[in-house]
Symmetry: C2
Subunit: 114 residues, 2 copies
DNA sequence: ATCGTATATTCGAAGAAGCTAATATACAAT
DNA sequence: ATTGTATATTAGCTTCTTCGAATATACGAT
């Protein structure tokens, strides 16, 4: 099959986003960088677990980090990623009759994110 | 954590695309519907395997199918999905210094897909 | 040097996803 | 009714993912 290594690359990217916590991380970083600690607090998951998810996102170059003293600040590497999620938002919105509970969440999210 | 079921939904969607063969399927269906047989031939994978991947895409409503006699024709359900992949293409193109072999593939793919 | 805080890594268990081979279903044609 | 073709499903195995608990590293403060 041609284009195969390219498709592996694409699949890896999708795989990186294929977890609710990792989506939450990217969405939290929407407005700018946050420390690992701040992320963990907002995510409400185990420290080790969050760190593992950050490792996944880092390894696929979806987020980047910089160290400041004791802390590590994360941010999304490329605004295109946020844009991808925005296009997807339209998609999800168009098809959310397939899960009514989420529609309500979606509306309040719309208020938050504009 | 709020928005969580929505994020599960999104994650499921990404998960559905997190495999090279399934990406290939969606890309093959770009120009219109194809029978399962035609897909399998172009994919060059085991019949059962392709069928399983189609089941995954169907279960996440990414593709739909219609039966015609003996055959089953698949198509992408919503053009937005193709659009998502197009935005991603820009993303991949912007970051493909991380895998040089793919850049060449990408260029020939650009010829094919315009 | 020691202690505390922030973050990362490793390990082992549990579950999910993927593959192939085999079997099943559905329809067409004879 | 039987046979052939197209597609789907199941079973068993292997590999990948995720998690929490424990441990390690890095840095700052005392």
């Amino acid at each position: 099959m041609p284009h195969d290594s390219l498709r592996r690359f694409k699949a890896d990217f999708f795989q990186a986003l294929a977890h609710p916590t990792r989506i939450a991380i990217v969405e939290l970083l929407r407005e700018g960088e946050l420390s690992a600690g701040a992320l963990i607090e907002r995510l409400g998951v185990e420290q080790a677990n969050a760190s593992q998810h950050l490792t996944v996102l880092r390894s696929k170059h979806i987020v980047v980090n910089r160290k400041v003293g004791n802390q590590v600040f994360y941010s999304v590497r490329d605004p295109l990623i946020t844009e991808v999620l925005d296009v997807m938002r339209r998609y999800f919105y168009a098809h959310l009759t397939e899960g009514q509970a989420m529609l309500d969440e979606m509306k309040s999210e719309a208020v938050t994110l504009g």
